[in-house]
Amino acid sequence: MQRQVALIKQSLFDQGYLDEQFMELEELQDDANPNFVEEVATLYFKDSARLINNIEQALERGSFDFNRLDNYMHQFKGSSTSIGASKVKTECTMFREYCRAGNAEGCLRTFKQLKKEHATLRKKLEQYFQLARQAGPKEIARRPK
């Protein structure tokens, strides 16, 4: 079970879903705060769902307020960076480039991809955290004492 957890985590890094920032978060866990990363992830997905919703509504309106969209995406990119969500962060960056270029078509396309990456990461992390909890606290990376 523990090996399974380690393998899942490794594949998330290998496939580029997560970057070193995720490891930095794990370094902050200890006996008193064994679920810190999961807590951050929960906050992230709640917050990013809200942002996705806002962006969706803004796009549906048809009038492309690129400033507003860029603003939302700045927030999205920020929190994605903080949790180490590498692929999502890349899509955010692309979206912002399209905003700056005033390219509505590019925005729509990228947003679709972003939602896909976001959903995939969510699923994979949910699986990872569930298994990690079952495997017991040993599996979560700890700060060396």
Binding site: Q21, E39, V40, L43, H74, S82, R143
Partner: protein, 183 residues
Amino acid sequence: MAEVMRSETLNISNNTSSLASPELLHVLAVDDSIVDRKFIERLLRVSSCKVTVVDSATRALQYLGLDGDNNSGGVEDLKINLIMTDYSMPGMTGYELLKKIKESSAFREIPVVIMSSENILPRIDRCLEEGAEDFLLKPVKLADVKRLRDSLLKAEERVFKNMMHKRELEANDIYSQLKRAKI
């Protein structure tokens, strides 16, 4: 031979430190991102700091008691050793918050660190010119926080040592006066 005068005999107060409590720096963190707030709070706690986190510059000013109209504002006895603020926030930016803090007589000495996800040199320059202690690129690293903490503790230690030295000199002075009086 002269007796060594102990500080207790002269009733010198031991509460000479401006630290919130022994060895604990009190940091006020300001960020509109809920994820970043959770992150910075953890970074600071892991670095043995006391943390207060708020979600906007306005709330930060409220906490400091600087939101009133009168300029003499400032909550009495509020011990903050460091303020860390995000740069890009809706409403009042971290830069504007920095300015307000530096304008206040009560809090202008408190070091203010700006955090930003964007590495924009003119922005960094502007903040440093306005008196920011440091400018950190997000995501903030534990090493950054520890470095800040260590340099602040060193500064506090210097202030403390200077004060103790001054008191020692004063104590010696009083002692010699007493000695002379006895003769």
